[in-house]
């Protein structure tokens, strides 16, 4: 979870001079009309859907001024300043240059962007939509903040290598509606694969960081979290959420079964909770059309020693909030018994939450923001493994066991993480 940095803000107040400079700057920056309020509002909404702020805004600092470290498997990349500042932002870019960056992954100097900028998803937007985003960005405060662009270690700092990556993984082009599907479905598909770029986190990646399309939206991992399967799979995905429950999750961060934490909490807070109900319904329509991959694992027998130990821990400790029946309390404590996240192939999020605790997202629709305490002081690795194996197998379908070594490995990987 991002943390605020300490330290002074970088922009000195300059009073009325700033306002004049901004007006001049935005008049020159591209062709957008600074008084086309319809276009600007459309761009603002698309920037929310695209969640530009989550990479380009350091929490607590000036919006879109860049400087935030984006973690990739290849190292950290600093997101650039996309305010209209002429020297350190994109104020001097033309509209074409902006469009090429967002939809084609090419910087204004012709060098390639790393796909940490999800241009391979944003390509699905139309030029008109991207220019609307430009028009909106022209209205935000220009911030002087020079961001160092090349921070990846060799050989990943060779941007030209992205040609290869693009050849493998980048299919340029705006979204093409499927005439056999409803308008709603198409809107959802467009949002998911386009501006909302859900696959960036929820589709597993190849070694080179491209999408494993055969496992589309079936879950992946990032920053020490596992992002779950979001297809309509009943065991691993959102198959046993009603459409209304799924919309509720995106809108408020909570539903009967689950509560968002970690990076998804931020996505909900900055993006999905501010989208229209119609768009959220469309996303859900689309996701729930993605088929169940089937093949639920047989649950471990209750008499297995690991299950026996896990059951004891569950009764003594976890039931305080998650209930004696595992069903929690709607909108407050997740229902472990029917949570697909609990049965994720990758238990990284589960291990992490038990060890470090978690704060669920608070939104206007669900302001409570309940938290889970940390159990690392109380449970040793074998005990954490037992209780997680238990909750993955105790209620209906099964999932892979969690071992003490899994927990130990996670502990050492998490040790350096601030969030």
């Amino acid at each position: 979870m991002p943390r605020t940095g300490a330290g002074a803000h970088s922009l000195a107040a300059m009073g009325p001079v700033t306002a004049i400079l901004l007006t001049i700057a935005s008049a020159i920056a591209g062709e957008s009309d600074p008084q086309d309020f319809i276009q600007i509002e459309k761009g603002r909404y698309l920037a929310v859907v695209g969640d530009c702020a989550s990479c380009h805004t350091v929490p607590g600092r000036r919006p879109f001024a860049g400087g935030r470290a984006i973690e990739t498997p290849f190292g950290n990349i600093l997101a650039p300043n996309i305010t209209p500042d002429r020297d350190t932002g994109i104020g001097a870019w033309s509209d074409d240059e902006f469009d090429r960056a967002v939809r084609k992954g090419v910087r204004e100097d012709g060098s390639l962007l790393y796909p940490a900028m999800p241009y391979n998803a944003y390509t699905k937007m139309s030029r008109q939509e991207v220019l609307a985003i430009r028009a909106y960005l022209n209205t935000v405060e220009a911030v002087r903040n020079a961001v160092v662009a090349n921070t990846l270690p060799f050989p990943f700092n060779i941007r030209a290598a992205m040609h290869v990556w693009n050849a493998l993984y980048f299919t340029e082009g705006a979204y093409k509606p499927d005439p056999a599907k409803s308008a709603d479905w198409n809107r959802g598909a467009y949002l998911v694969d386009g501006p909302a770029h859900c696959g960036a986190c929820h589709t597993p990646k190849t070694l080179l960081g491209g999408d494993k399309t055969s496992r589309y939206l079936q879950g992946s991992d990032l920053q020490g979290w596992s992002a779950p399967d979001i297809t309509n799979d009943k065991v691993h995905g959102i198959g046993n959420w009603s459409a209304a429950e799924a919309v509720s999750y995106l809108k408020t961060g909570h539903n009967r079964v689950s509560a968002a934490t970690g990076p998804m909490a931020e996505a909900i807070s900055l993006s999905t909770s501010q989208m229209t109900d119609a768009d959220l319904a469309a996303i859900v329509t689309y996701l729930k059309s993605l088929p169940d991959r089937g093949g639920a694992a047989t649950p471990l027998a209750a008499q297995d020693p690991v299950m026996v130990a896990g059951a004891a821990i569950y009764r003594d400790a976890c039931s305080a909030c998650h209930g004696l029946d595992g069903r929690g309390t709607a909108q407050l404590f997740p229902s472990i018994a029917d949570s697909s996240m609990v049965r994720s192939d990758d238990p990284a999020t589960l291990i992490r939450i038990v060890l470090r605790g978690a704060r669920s997202v608070a939104t206007a629709g669900e302001p409570t923001g309940p938290g889970m305490p940390s159990y690392a002081w109380q449970l040793d690795d074998a005990q954490v493994a037992s209780v997680l194996t238990y909750i993955r197998n105790a209620w209906g379908s099964g999932a892979s066991t969690v071992s003490a070594q899994d927990v130990a490995r996670a502990k050492s990987q998490l040790a350096s993480r601030p969030d």
């Binding site: 605020t4 690991v306 026996v308 130990a309 004891a312 449970l379 040793d380």
Partner: protein, 250 residues
Amino acid sequence: MTKQFDNIGLRRRELLAGTAVFFLGLRRSQAAAIYGALPWAPNAGDPPVPVKPGPWLFFTGAEGRAIEAIADRIIPPDPQTPGGKDAGCAVFIDRQLAGPYGQQDGLYLRPPFQAGMKNQGEQSEGGPRQSYRSGLAALDKACKAKFAGKEFAELSDGDKDKVLGDLESGELKLDGVDGKAFFAEVVKDVQMGFFADPIYGGNRDMVAWKMIGYPGARYNYLDWVNRHNERFPLPPVAMTGRAEWTPKAR
């Protein structure tokens, strides 16, 4: 919207080895400005640190012998339940005296110290450490005088009980120490150590809780509220869990 939480990271205190010490309500001890969102950090909280077995941290060897012997008379061993000594009550008291309780952390210790009425509460400057130091020394001194050089721990059980009974009634006076008050304090502390969570050194293996049928550090009894006049069947659990939490080897 700005969300800020300027706070020092929440860290567990590094503690003297073996003392289960808890923060005396001043954990987040630096003033902070809080707004925007409920504060959060991973590994937040201030869990208790288990007492580690080992040598006395406060008592001298002689004091330790005396307090163990006293504990075993206040709570004598019987076939079903260990006595105060084996239950760890003396260890409990030793670690408490070595920690913040012993040094009267958080109490108002400003002068002047004046004697008052009993209902005005304790007004002396010395705290539990001084109380035990001087009390145990005076007790052994009295025993040696009365029992031909034997300290309390060397007496027969019968003699020990007689000595303690006389202390309780006030018939046995200790030199420079209010024997009655000291004995009452020791009874309170031994019994407290017997019934506290094992993490603090006493109630080893939850023997006291097993004795009385107390289920320990549980939190959810929803399935038992309406079962009236039936024995609750689950074994006690301590804050550090119970044996059943660890999977048995196949």
